[in-house]
């Protein structure tokens, strides 16, 4: 089969699964059959994606197929289609791989859900996979935007999967609104771009840029608007606030959407439109700095979290900052590489955390501890994920993180580079902290008595999770190691930039220092955690309060937005409605007065008719 057919097959299978599950209510309510249908569809998509990648990597030119969509006066206004090149096909594999594993994992994880909710979950999942692949394969920005919004909807639906839980409903809304704030920018940017270039097609735009026929005046605004969309989706400072809250959704959802795929859509968008950003260096600089700030601040906040999923969420924000910094430095390829490796090991970490949560029935790390003996498999894969994230050689994150750091330095972003390096230390620190607290330290540290005391005997799950959950974990873990070993020892891509020789040792040293620091603090307790807290008290307070960003947003919402809304409401109620009410009251009164004419007595009507006759005759007197 040719790659276009394969890509479209991969794209439409989950869509078909979604439609079947969505439309056929009995199938949806039956639960597990719907799940099997969804998994079969996405697994086939995975196979098609791998084959597409094989075919695409063989061809030099990107493969593009498009059909007319919106007819216009001068040719079609917009097209739909697929654009297959190494980037999009690799991303396609990542999306379908993680989606397949997550869906299989969810079979066990959401085992206790009622069948109808189970079916609903898989319907959303199928829709998400379709939409995400739509974003990835989009040959033009309009189609990309449509799919972009679709993944936003899926994210909303899946965060709010347990919609009876108020926090989940709130988190879903928060995620939707915050990303929507960025999406407005994206939409404006896309429209402006059409006005400037007259096309949405990515390849055509690239040709225009290469040919120098694209006007650069006003392009800065456009790229900034595009970046706003990416900022919302990829949780960049200061629009990152939704991602930690999004952890209210089921953990597999967090793994798929809020770690591996959807949140990287912003980075992917920037990678896709890299050539535009290169025309506007000042925006690129902004991207880089904000990426660095995001990476550092999120890493700091991750250090003070006690909820295992929140740590991972902030870690995701931080890593997205890394990718963005690389893009901002002008080397989108490095960011994209980190995107791919991060997708693998962050999904692994989330699914591992999910397995722990599934066993312990709590998100709080204080309720865990010493779990290595109980669930050695989970611990092993989680440690593999941690080492990957910390950038230890021979693991997946090592090369990509080096690339990002090197790119940042080569791009001349010294400030962000220092932030990223600090972030690397913190990353290793907080992830190791999680590992030591959850798997090695003595359980239930005194003084942290939580609402519900946890008693091993009363929880159903002992030891490692069943095959359906362990399988995906091991696949991801092996993938992380294989990628790491292959890229560390066997494969040396031609670097786009020259990195100084001291970079690798320093970066690895930072990572190892973080691990050692965490070991000393949380395992041997040589360094008191309380002392650390008091030393870094100001930062700690700020981090615990999320740098007061949520409070700021709440203030803006309460005192500015709501006040404005109240003003509008007042105007509407008393001025707009007032005028209408007065008119309607007059009409009513008039009708009431006129009503009295209708006496209902035949005699009156006859008299009126006769009087009318007389008036008519008087009026026509002259003509008769």
């Amino acid at each position: 089969m040719n790659p276009v057919t394969l890509a479209i097959l991969a794209l439409l299978l989950p869509a078909g699964a979604f439609l079947l599950i969505g439309v056929l209510a009995p199938l949806r309510r039956s639960g597990r059959p719907a799940a099997f249908l969804s998994i079969a569809a996405v697994a086939t998509s995975l196979a098609a994606a791998i084959r597409t990648w094989q075919l695409a990597s063989g061809s030099v030119e990107p493969i593009r197929a498009a059909w007319n969509w919106l007819p216009g006066a001068n040719g079609p206004l917009a097209t739909v289609g697929v654009l297959i090149d190494p980037q999009s096909s690799l991303m396609l594999i990542l999306v379908t791989l993680v989606a397949t594993l997550v869906q299989i994992y969810s079979l066990e994880y959401l085992h206790d859900e009622p069948p109808a909710a189970f079916g609903r979950y898989y319907a959303y999942h199928s829709l998400f996979v379709f939409s995400m692949m739509g974003v990835v394969l989009s040959p033009n920005l309009l189609q990309l935007f449509v799919c972009w919004e679709l993944v936003g909807v899926c994210s909303y639906l899946l965060i709010g999967f347990w919609y009876r839980k108020p926090e989940a409903a709130r988190a879903a809304l928060k995620a939707f609104w915050t990303t929507k704030a960025g999406d407005v920018g994206l939409l404006i940017g896309i429209v402006l771009l059409y006005r400037l270039a007259g096309t949405w097609d990515i390849l055509e735009l690239e040709h225009m840029v290469k040919g120098g026929t694209l006007a650069t005046a006003g392009l800065g605004v456009i790229t900034f608007c595009l970046y706003l969309g990416a900022m919302g989706k990829s949780a960049q400072f200061p629009l990152h606030v939704w991602l930690p809250d999004a952890m209210e959704g089921p953990t597999p959802v967090s793994a798929l959407i809020h770690a591996a795929t959807m949140v990287t859509a912003g980075v992917y968008l920037l990678v896709r439109t890299e050539f535009l950003f290169h025309q506007t260096p000042q925006v690129l600089l902004l991207v880089g700095w904000i990426g660095g700030i995001t990476a550092l601040l999120a890493a700091i906040m991750a250090c003070v979290q006690t909820d295992i999923k929140k740590v991972l969420a902030y870690s995701t924000v931080s890593q997205l900052g890394y990718m963005m910094t690389a893009v901002g430095a002008g080397f989108a390829g490095a960011g994209f590489l980190h995107l791919l490796t991060h997708g693998v090991f962050k999904a692994l970490l989330f699914l591992g955390a999910g397995a722990v949560i599934h066993a312990v029935h709590s998100n709080e790390m204080h309720d865990m501890g010493g779990l290595f003996k109980r669930m050695p498999q989970v611990a092993t894969v989680f440690i593999i994920g941690t080492l990957s994230l910390a950038g230890v050689p021979a693991f997946a994150g090592f090369i990509s993180k080096e690339e990002v750091l090197g790119a940042t330095l080569a791009g001349g972003l010294t400030g962000p580079f220092v932030m990223l390096l600090t972030g690397a230390f913190l990353t290793a620190f907080y992830m190791s902290k999680v590992v030591f607290l959850v798997f090695f330290a003595a359980p239930a540290a005194p003084g942290h008595a939580h609402g519900h005391t946890h008693d091993d005997g009363h929880h159903g799950h002992h030891g490692d999770p069943p095959f359906l959950m362990a399988g995906p974990l091991w696949i991801l873990a092996i993938a992380a190691i294989v990628i790491g070993v292959y890229s560390t020892f066997f494969h040396h891509a031609e670097p786009e930039f020259a990195s100084p020789g001291w970079l690798t040792p320093v970066a690895v040293a930072m990572g190892l220092a973080g691990i050692v620091g965490a070991y000393l603090t949380y395992q041997t307790r040589t360094i008191s955690a309380d002392t650390l807290a008091s030393v870094f008290a100001p930062i700690r307070v700020a981090a615990v309060n999320k740098f007061w960003l949520d409070d700021l947003y709440l203030f803006i919402y309460r005192h500015i937005l709501l006040a404005f809304a109240r003003l509008i409401g007042w105007t509407d109620r008393y001025i707009v409605d007032g005028v209408l009410n007065v008119i309607s009251a007059w009409t009513l009164d008039g009708g009431d007065a006129l009503r009295r004419i209708q006496t209902g007595r035949v005699g009156d009507y006859i008299f009126a008719v006769a009087a009318g006759l007389l008036v008519l005759m008087l009026w026509m007197r002259g003509t008769l």
Partner: protein, 164 residues
């Protein structure tokens, strides 16, 4: 003053007089009787206009049929209510103004129209002609009229049926 003029004036005075009594009489029963007189007077007018057949129809159907039905209706309602039906008038002034106004307008039209023409001589037997026309040219309306009367009769019977 020939016979026709004399007859017209006598009939006209009688007609107007009985018509006034119809609308002014306090007693409903008397009103009906005055209406009968007016209808017979109209029959006289018809005869004066050489329409003897119509005059006969007028007397038989109206003065005979209609008046009988009305009297029946009055008697039935009086039996039901158990007392004499007296009738009063309202809005007499307004009614008079409107009626006189309409009359003045119509008379004005008649006066100005110059419609007067010589009365042609009778050339044929009108009754015979009417009979032939009814069964040839106007057969369909004539039959439809029969259907209408039947429908009216059934409807009247249905409305006025005894209460169940």
């Amino acid at each position: 003053m020939n016979g026709e003029v004399l007859a017209f004036w006598v009939l006209a005075v009688g007609l107007v007089g009985s018509a006034l009594n119809v609308v002014l009489s306090k007693n409903l029963f008397h009103s009906v009787l005055w209406l009968a007189a007016a209808l017979v007077g109209t029959a006289g007018i018809f005869i004066a206009l050489d329409a003897e057949f119509l005059g006969a129809v007028q007397v038989l159907l109206y003065a005979g049929g209609v008046i009988t039905v009305v009297v029946f209706a009055i008697v039935v309602t009086e039996r039901l209510v158990g007392e004499r039906l007296s009738q009063t008038s309202r809005r007499i002034l307004g009614g008079a103004v409107v009626a006189v106004g309409v009359l003045a307008m119509v008379l004005n039209v008649i006066r100005r129209s110059g419609i007067d023409m010589p009365r042609p001589e009778m050339t044929a037997d009108i009754t015979k002609w009417m009979g032939i026309s009814l069964l040839t040219q106007f057969l369909l309306p004539f039959e439809l009229l029969g259907v209408l009367l039947l429908a009216g009769l059934l409807a009247a019977t249905y409305f006025a049926r005894p209460e169940e």
